[in-house]
Protein backbone atom coordinates (compact mmCIF):
# COMPACT_ATOMS: atom_id res chain seq x y z
CA UNK A 1 0.00 0.00 0.00
CA UNK A 2 1.21 3.48 -0.93
CA UNK A 3 0.07 6.62 0.84
CA UNK A 4 0.66 9.92 -0.96
CA UNK A 5 0.25 13.40 0.50
CA UNK A 6 0.13 16.27 -1.97
CA UNK A 7 0.54 19.73 -0.49
CA UNK A 8 -1.99 22.45 -1.30
CA UNK A 9 0.57 25.20 -1.75
CA UNK A 10 0.68 27.66 -4.63
CA UNK A 11 1.66 26.21 -7.97
CA UNK A 12 0.64 22.68 -7.10
CA UNK A 13 -1.13 21.09 -10.06
CA UNK A 14 -2.84 17.83 -9.15
CA UNK A 15 -3.05 16.63 -12.78
CA UNK A 16 0.28 14.71 -12.87
CA UNK A 17 -0.55 13.07 -9.55
CA UNK A 18 -3.99 11.99 -10.82
CA UNK A 19 -2.48 10.56 -14.01
CA UNK A 20 0.07 8.65 -11.96
CA UNK A 21 -2.61 7.26 -9.65
CA UNK A 22 -4.54 5.98 -12.66
CA UNK A 23 -1.46 4.18 -14.03
CA UNK A 24 -0.57 2.72 -10.64
CA UNK A 25 -4.17 1.62 -10.13
CA UNK A 26 -4.08 -0.28 -13.44
CA UNK A 27 -0.80 -1.87 -12.29
CA UNK A 28 -2.70 -3.03 -9.21
CA UNK A 29 -0.81 -0.55 -7.01
CA UNK A 30 -3.56 1.34 -5.18
CA UNK A 31 -2.56 4.74 -3.85
CA UNK A 32 -4.39 6.47 -1.02
CA UNK A 33 -4.28 10.23 -1.55
CA UNK A 34 -4.26 12.81 1.23
CA UNK A 35 -4.49 16.28 -0.25
CA UNK A 36 -3.97 19.81 1.00
CA UNK A 37 -5.55 23.08 -0.08
CA UNK A 38 -3.92 25.80 1.99
CA UNK A 39 -3.37 28.14 -0.97
CA UNK A 40 -7.02 27.87 -2.10
CA UNK A 41 -8.16 28.35 1.49
CA UNK A 42 -6.16 31.59 1.75
CA UNK A 43 -7.69 32.88 -1.49
CA UNK A 44 -11.20 31.92 -0.38
CA UNK A 45 -10.75 33.37 3.11
CA UNK A 46 -9.74 36.72 1.66
CA UNK A 47 -12.73 36.71 -0.71
CA UNK A 48 -15.09 35.90 2.15
CA UNK A 49 -13.66 38.60 4.38
CA UNK A 50 -12.24 36.02 6.79
CA UNK A 51 -8.54 36.79 6.23
CA UNK A 52 -6.35 33.80 7.14
CA UNK A 53 -4.27 34.24 10.29
CA UNK A 54 -1.18 32.09 10.62
CA UNK A 55 0.32 31.64 14.05
CA UNK A 56 3.70 30.31 15.09
CA UNK A 57 4.17 28.05 18.06
CA UNK A 58 6.79 28.77 20.66
CA UNK A 59 9.00 26.09 19.08
CA UNK A 60 8.62 27.52 15.59
CA UNK A 61 5.78 25.56 13.96
CA UNK A 62 3.46 27.67 11.88
CA UNK A 63 -0.16 26.76 11.35
CA UNK A 64 -3.42 28.37 10.46
CA UNK A 65 -5.39 29.84 13.38
CA UNK A 66 -8.67 28.04 12.86
CA UNK A 67 -11.56 29.55 14.77
CA UNK A 68 -15.05 28.28 13.99
CA UNK A 69 -15.51 30.67 11.05
CA UNK A 70 -12.17 29.70 9.49
CA UNK A 71 -12.98 26.03 10.08
CA UNK A 72 -16.06 26.37 7.88
CA UNK A 73 -14.03 27.96 5.08
CA UNK A 74 -11.53 25.11 5.56
CA UNK A 75 -14.33 22.52 5.25
CA UNK A 76 -15.71 24.20 2.13
CA UNK A 77 -12.38 24.38 0.33
CA UNK A 78 -10.74 21.14 1.50
CA UNK A 79 -13.72 18.77 1.78
CA UNK A 80 -15.85 20.57 -0.79
CA UNK A 81 -13.91 22.05 -3.65
CA UNK A 82 -10.46 20.42 -3.71
CA UNK A 83 -11.67 16.97 -2.60
CA UNK A 84 -14.60 16.68 -5.00
CA UNK A 85 -12.77 18.13 -8.02
CA UNK A 86 -10.00 15.57 -7.37
CA UNK A 87 -12.61 12.80 -7.23
CA UNK A 88 -14.14 14.13 -10.46
CA UNK A 89 -10.76 14.13 -12.22
CA UNK A 90 -9.84 10.65 -10.95
CA UNK A 91 -13.21 9.25 -12.03
CA UNK A 92 -12.54 10.70 -15.50
CA UNK A 93 -9.28 8.72 -15.51
CA UNK A 94 -11.07 5.51 -14.56
CA UNK A 95 -10.13 5.53 -10.89
CA UNK A 96 -13.16 4.75 -8.69
CA UNK A 97 -12.29 7.43 -6.12
CA UNK A 98 -14.32 8.11 -2.97
CA UNK A 99 -13.69 11.47 -1.32
CA UNK A 100 -13.75 11.58 2.47
CA UNK A 101 -12.75 13.90 5.28
CA UNK A 102 -11.54 12.63 8.63
CA UNK A 103 -15.00 13.45 10.05
CA UNK A 104 -16.65 10.82 7.89
CA UNK A 105 -17.06 7.57 9.84
CA UNK A 106 -14.51 9.09 12.29
CA UNK A 107 -11.81 8.23 9.76
CA UNK A 108 -9.31 10.52 11.53
CA UNK A 109 -9.78 11.14 15.25
CA UNK A 110 -7.61 13.18 17.55
CA UNK A 111 -7.41 15.61 20.44
CA UNK A 112 -8.49 19.17 19.93
CA UNK A 113 -6.04 21.69 21.35
CA UNK A 114 -8.09 23.56 23.94
CA UNK A 115 -5.46 26.20 24.18
CA UNK A 116 -2.26 26.72 22.24
CA UNK A 117 0.74 28.90 22.93
CA UNK A 118 1.87 31.16 20.13
CA UNK A 119 4.39 33.92 19.60
CA UNK A 120 3.10 37.07 17.94
CA UNK A 121 4.86 40.47 17.70
CA UNK A 122 7.34 39.22 20.25
CA UNK A 123 4.65 38.34 22.79
CA UNK A 124 3.86 34.85 24.02
CA UNK A 125 0.09 34.38 23.92
CA UNK A 126 -2.47 31.74 24.77
CA UNK A 127 -5.02 31.17 21.99
CA UNK A 128 -8.27 29.42 22.82
CA UNK A 129 -11.20 28.55 20.44
CA UNK A 130 -8.72 27.12 17.96
CA UNK A 131 -10.16 24.15 16.08
CA UNK A 132 -6.88 22.42 15.40
CA UNK A 133 -5.52 19.21 16.80
CA UNK A 134 -3.63 15.98 16.44
CA UNK A 135 -4.41 12.74 14.59
CA UNK A 136 -4.28 9.92 17.13
CA UNK A 137 -6.57 7.28 15.62
CA UNK A 138 -7.28 6.12 12.07
CA UNK A 139 -10.42 4.12 11.22
CA UNK A 140 -8.56 1.41 9.30
CA UNK A 141 -11.73 -0.69 9.05
CA UNK A 142 -13.41 2.03 6.97
CA UNK A 143 -10.37 2.29 4.69
CA UNK A 144 -10.22 -1.50 4.25
CA UNK A 145 -14.00 -1.64 3.67
CA UNK A 146 -13.72 0.84 0.81
CA UNK A 147 -10.49 -0.59 -0.62
CA UNK A 148 -12.07 -4.05 -0.49
CA UNK A 149 -15.05 -2.70 -2.45
CA UNK A 150 -12.70 -1.47 -5.17
CA UNK A 151 -12.85 2.16 -4.13
CA UNK A 152 -9.89 4.50 -3.69
CA UNK A 153 -10.07 6.87 -0.72
CA UNK A 154 -9.13 10.52 -1.35
CA UNK A 155 -8.82 12.22 2.02
CA UNK A 156 -9.14 15.86 3.11
CA UNK A 157 -7.18 16.64 6.31
CA UNK A 158 -10.16 17.50 8.45
CA UNK A 159 -10.53 15.30 11.53
CA UNK A 160 -12.93 14.75 14.42
CA UNK A 161 -12.00 15.44 18.02
CA UNK A 162 -12.73 13.08 20.89
CA UNK A 163 -15.66 15.44 21.67
CA UNK A 164 -16.76 15.04 18.00
CA UNK A 165 -15.84 18.53 16.90
CA UNK A 166 -14.47 19.11 13.44
CA UNK A 167 -10.76 20.02 13.68
CA UNK A 168 -8.10 21.16 11.25
CA UNK A 169 -5.16 18.76 11.28
CA UNK A 170 -1.78 18.71 9.62
CA UNK A 171 -2.05 16.91 6.29
CA UNK A 172 1.44 15.42 6.53
CA UNK A 173 0.85 14.08 10.03
CA UNK A 174 -2.54 12.72 8.89
CA UNK A 175 -0.86 10.96 5.94
CA UNK A 176 1.78 9.55 8.28
CA UNK A 177 -0.90 8.25 10.67
CA UNK A 178 -2.75 6.61 7.76
CA UNK A 179 0.49 5.07 6.45
CA UNK A 180 1.21 3.60 9.88
CA UNK A 181 -2.36 2.33 10.32
CA UNK A 182 -2.20 0.54 6.96
CA UNK A 183 1.45 -0.56 7.45
CA UNK A 184 2.13 1.12 4.10
CA UNK A 185 5.25 0.23 2.16
CA UNK A 186 5.65 3.88 1.13
CA UNK A 187 4.65 7.26 2.50
CA UNK A 188 5.31 9.83 -0.25
CA UNK A 189 5.06 13.52 0.62
CA UNK A 190 4.88 15.65 -2.52
CA UNK A 191 5.21 19.42 -2.41
CA UNK A 192 6.58 22.32 -4.45
CA UNK A 193 10.18 21.51 -3.49
CA UNK A 194 12.31 18.57 -4.70
CA UNK A 195 12.73 17.29 -1.12
CA UNK A 196 14.70 18.23 2.00
CA UNK A 197 17.30 20.81 0.99
CA UNK A 198 20.60 21.32 2.75
CA UNK A 199 20.50 25.04 1.90
CA UNK A 200 16.90 26.06 1.33
CA UNK A 201 15.83 27.33 -1.23
CA UNK A 202 18.77 26.08 -3.35
CA UNK A 203 17.16 23.12 -5.10
CA UNK A 204 20.50 21.63 -6.07
CA UNK A 205 21.28 21.10 -2.36
CA UNK A 206 18.82 18.15 -2.30
CA UNK A 207 19.59 15.60 0.41
CA UNK A 208 19.13 12.31 -1.48
CA UNK A 209 19.13 9.81 1.34
CA UNK A 210 18.67 9.79 5.11
CA UNK A 211 19.16 6.61 7.14
CA UNK A 212 16.02 6.28 9.27
CA UNK A 213 17.96 6.10 12.55
CA UNK A 214 19.56 9.50 11.86
CA UNK A 215 16.48 11.53 10.92
CA UNK A 216 16.70 13.66 14.08
CA UNK A 217 20.13 14.94 12.95
CA UNK A 218 18.59 16.36 9.76
CA UNK A 219 15.86 18.32 11.58
CA UNK A 220 18.15 21.34 11.48
CA UNK A 221 17.82 21.56 7.69
CA UNK A 222 14.04 21.71 7.90
CA UNK A 223 12.53 25.19 7.56
CA UNK A 224 9.19 26.19 9.10
CA UNK A 225 6.53 23.86 7.70
CA UNK A 226 9.11 21.31 6.59
CA UNK A 227 9.86 20.66 10.29
CA UNK A 228 6.40 19.14 10.69
CA UNK A 229 6.83 17.02 7.60
CA UNK A 230 10.07 15.56 8.94
CA UNK A 231 8.40 14.96 12.36
CA UNK A 232 5.62 13.04 10.62
CA UNK A 233 8.16 11.00 8.67
CA UNK A 234 10.12 10.08 11.77
CA UNK A 235 6.99 8.89 13.51
CA UNK A 236 5.90 6.80 10.53
CA UNK A 237 9.25 5.06 10.21
CA UNK A 238 9.45 4.20 13.86
CA UNK A 239 6.00 2.60 13.60
CA UNK A 240 6.62 0.28 10.72
CA UNK A 241 6.18 2.24 7.50
CA UNK A 242 8.69 0.89 5.00
CA UNK A 243 9.97 4.07 3.42
CA UNK A 244 9.27 7.80 3.43
CA UNK A 245 10.08 9.95 0.41
CA UNK A 246 9.89 13.75 0.25
CA UNK A 247 9.58 14.51 -3.46
CA UNK A 248 8.57 17.10 -6.04
CA UNK A 249 4.89 17.35 -7.03
CA UNK A 250 5.72 19.49 -10.08
CA UNK A 251 7.49 16.83 -12.16
CA UNK A 252 5.73 14.49 -14.61
CA UNK A 253 4.79 11.15 -12.92
CA UNK A 254 5.70 12.46 -9.46
CA UNK A 255 4.60 9.31 -7.58
CA UNK A 256 6.46 6.90 -9.82
CA UNK A 257 9.55 9.14 -9.74
CA UNK A 258 9.42 9.08 -5.93
CA UNK A 259 8.95 5.29 -5.93
CA UNK A 260 12.10 5.12 -8.04
CA UNK A 261 14.01 7.20 -5.49
CA UNK A 262 13.76 10.77 -6.84
CA UNK A 263 13.71 13.17 -3.85
CA UNK A 264 14.80 12.63 -0.24
CA UNK A 265 14.43 8.95 0.59
CA UNK A 266 14.37 7.90 4.22
CA UNK A 267 14.53 4.17 4.99
Amino acid sequence: MIVVKVGGGKGIDYEPVCQDMAHLMQANQPVILVHGGSHETNVMSEKLGVPPRFVTSVSGYTSRYTNRETLEVFAMVYAGKVNKLLVERLQQLGVNAVGLSGLDGRLLEGKRKDAIRIVENGRKLVLRDDYTGTVDKVNVALLRLLLGGGYLPVIAPLAISTESEAINVDGDRAAAAIAVALAASHLIILSNVPGLLREFPDESSLIRHIPKDHVEEYMGFAEGRMKKKVMGATEALTQGVGQVVFADARVPSPIRAALEGAGTVIN
Binding site: V126, Y131, V169
Partner: protein
Protein backbone atom coordinates in the same frame (compact mmCIF):
# COMPACT_ATOMS: atom_id res chain seq x y z
CA UNK B 1 -1.65 54.99 35.84
CA UNK B 2 -0.84 52.86 38.89
CA UNK B 3 0.62 49.60 37.62
CA UNK B 4 -1.73 46.68 38.21
CA UNK B 5 -0.53 44.09 40.68
CA UNK B 6 -1.57 40.45 40.87
CA UNK B 7 -0.72 37.51 43.08
CA UNK B 8 1.08 34.50 41.63
CA UNK B 9 -1.29 31.51 42.15
CA UNK B 10 1.74 29.20 42.49
CA UNK B 11 3.94 30.95 45.05
CA UNK B 12 1.82 33.88 46.23
CA UNK B 13 4.40 36.50 45.17
CA UNK B 14 3.10 39.95 44.19
CA UNK B 15 3.64 40.72 40.53
CA UNK B 16 3.43 43.96 38.52
CA UNK B 17 1.64 43.71 35.17
CA UNK B 18 3.63 45.75 32.62
CA UNK B 19 2.04 48.73 30.99
CA UNK B 20 1.15 47.20 27.64
CA UNK B 21 0.18 43.69 28.79
CA UNK B 22 -2.81 42.25 26.96
CA UNK B 23 -5.41 39.57 27.67
CA UNK B 24 -4.13 36.08 26.79
CA UNK B 25 -0.49 37.04 27.18
CA UNK B 26 1.88 34.60 28.91
CA UNK B 27 4.16 36.05 31.57
CA UNK B 28 6.39 34.25 34.03
CA UNK B 29 6.36 34.87 37.78
CA UNK B 30 9.46 36.85 38.75
CA UNK B 31 9.77 34.73 41.93
CA UNK B 32 9.01 31.12 41.10
CA UNK B 33 9.21 31.46 37.30
CA UNK B 34 5.96 29.57 36.60
CA UNK B 35 4.15 30.52 33.34
CA UNK B 36 1.01 32.56 33.95
CA UNK B 37 -1.75 33.57 31.53
CA UNK B 38 -3.24 37.06 31.82
CA UNK B 39 -6.95 36.31 32.04
CA UNK B 40 -7.91 39.99 32.17
CA UNK B 41 -6.17 43.33 32.52
CA UNK B 42 -9.00 45.29 34.15
CA UNK B 43 -9.43 43.94 36.75
CA UNK B 44 -5.94 42.36 36.66
CA UNK B 45 -6.26 38.55 36.87
CA UNK B 46 -3.81 35.73 36.12
CA UNK B 47 -3.98 31.93 36.10
CA UNK B 48 -1.44 29.16 35.50
CA UNK B 49 -0.87 29.05 31.73
CA UNK B 50 -2.14 25.87 30.01
CA UNK B 51 0.48 23.22 29.27
CA UNK B 52 2.62 23.62 26.13
CA UNK B 53 1.29 21.14 23.54
CA UNK B 54 3.03 20.60 20.28
CA UNK B 55 1.87 19.72 16.79
CA UNK B 56 -1.15 21.40 15.35
CA UNK B 57 -3.06 21.95 12.17
CA UNK B 58 -2.09 22.38 8.55
Amino acid sequence: MATATVECPECGAELQLDEGSIKGEIISCSDCGVDLEIISVKPPKVELAPEEEEDWGE
